[in-house]
Symmetry: C2
Subunit: 251 residues, 2 copies
DNA sequence: ACAAAAGTGTTTTTAGTACACCCATGT
DNA sequence: ACATGGGTGTACTAAAAACACTTTTGT
């Protein structure tokens, strides 16, 4: 991944600018053609894949670091990005650590890292995936066609998915995943994909509308076969309000 | 808090044994006499209070570190202890940092720390609070009689409470907070205290029993005034199962 | 004319809320 | 005997699940 020279330079730089022992990994979900997708990078010249991630600068808030990392990889910012879990198994970077130890003992990557997992929901259309220094590609993968992820990134991804599913039951989602305008069946497909189960068309519509976070447009979508569906878009104000309040909730 | 000599020694030790930049803070909830309480330490010779916390050893899993810290402060272990949020504001330790910088520049405490918040629910009766090196006391405080907490510990406490309340709606709680045997009204008082509102006696009972995590004993509690209430205890197997499955949950 | 997608109900079931009555015990 | 805390049951209401019929449009 690195030549010795590159590694030496990177380490010098990293030690100066970043908090040691701490990294951030992002699980970035997108939605396209009825499929939930995740943004994944591929190591140059290796059959290894990994989640977009990075480090925290010495005076940088964690959320800002996550925003920065996301922006670097996707070109987008100001989106829903949320910390969901810290992964701190001392063995989690073992392979990685040892590999770099051989090249240069006592270097940045030879250290133990605990990583803070962030997840984001983004509009597939707006993303321009950009590989980082060590990667030969950065692209979307369907959830059911994931390549083998390095380290504990599979675990991180699964935990993110679990969190996302939980979130679904008490928070509105979709604003950052759907294009500006969309039809009810399209939104339903998003929910079905995330939950991995079929939902009743009519009950879904009623429930979503009851949240009172959508605006229906006058004009239905034309041109397609079959009956023209209405177009909806999120009412940002109401959406934000629902995010803060929660949608239902317990006792 | 430290003499210069103590500080030098602590720093040497800490640098050798702990991960830098990372700490753990625990919000330990207990329940006694109808009050939800939190375990809080007081700084020696200062009117400052703080949450029990500590650092992560270089080869120690995070959860183990949290367990260790909790055990040191309370004498108990093997309990429900859960990571709930990471606090990483670069300014969060500012006062602290500067104070120590004056005594000894470039020392362990002068660094920025991100802290991982854990919360625990423990049986008040089993806890033997033990002050740490820097504290003159370690004791329970009612939620509505909290002293002024240092750094962002008030924020951490509030976030823990929020998480606890959310948890309540989809997970059983109480196993680690209640004594072995308890009555239904006693358990209800726990829920009411956490949620900070009155619940209907009859509906509460029905709902809790529907979770199917309690065993009712043959013998009611004798001796007290009024009608003798039944005693219940948690069915550990069913409780664990409910913890894993969740209690209700959305779509 | 018909298949496929979408709009709009209605009925049934379940979960949640509100409320009423009876029982035991100490004063 | 009565006040208080505790056990049990029932009616009402709102939300979720199941299910049916109609409309539009391309072929």
């Amino acid at each position: 991944m690195f030549t010795k020279e590159e590694l030496v330079e990177f380490c010098e730089n990293a030690n100066k600018n970043y908090l040691s022992h701490i990294s951030i990994d992002c699980v970035i979900f997108g939605f396209h053609e009825g499929q939930l997708k995740v943004l994944i990078l591929k190591v140059k010249n290796h059959d290894e894949w990994y989640l977009p991630g990075g480090f925290v600068m010495k005076a940088e808030p964690l959320d800002t670091a996550a925003d920065r990392i996301l922006k670097e990889r996707t070109g987008i910012d100001e989106i829903f990005l949320q910390q969901f879990h810290v992964f701190g198994d001392p063995e989690r970077g073992k392979v990685h650590n040892d590999m770099y130890k051989d090249i240069m003992p006592d270097n940045w990557f030879a250290n133990r890292f605990i990583t803070i997992g962030y997840y984001a929901l983004v509009d597939f259309e707006n993303v321009r995936p950009a590989p980082d220094l060590h990667s030969e590609s950065c692209r979307w993968y369907d959830l059911d066609e994931l390549p083998t992820l390095m380290l504990d990134h599979k675990l991180i991804l699964n935990k993110a998915l679990e969190t996302l599913r939980l979130q679904l039951s008490y928070q509105p989602i979709g604003y950052n995943l759907m294009p500006k305008e969309f039809t009810m069946p399209e939104l339903q497909r998003l929910y079905e994909t995330i939950l991995d189960k079929k939902l009743d068309r009519r009950n879904f519509q009623r429930r979503i509308l009851a949240f009172d976070i959508l605006d229906r447009h006058e004009q239905p979508r034309k041109g397609g076969a079959h009956k023209a569906p209405y177009l909806y878009s999120f009412n940002v104000e109401k959406y934000q309000h629902a995010l803060r309040q929660g949608l239902s909730g317990g006792w």
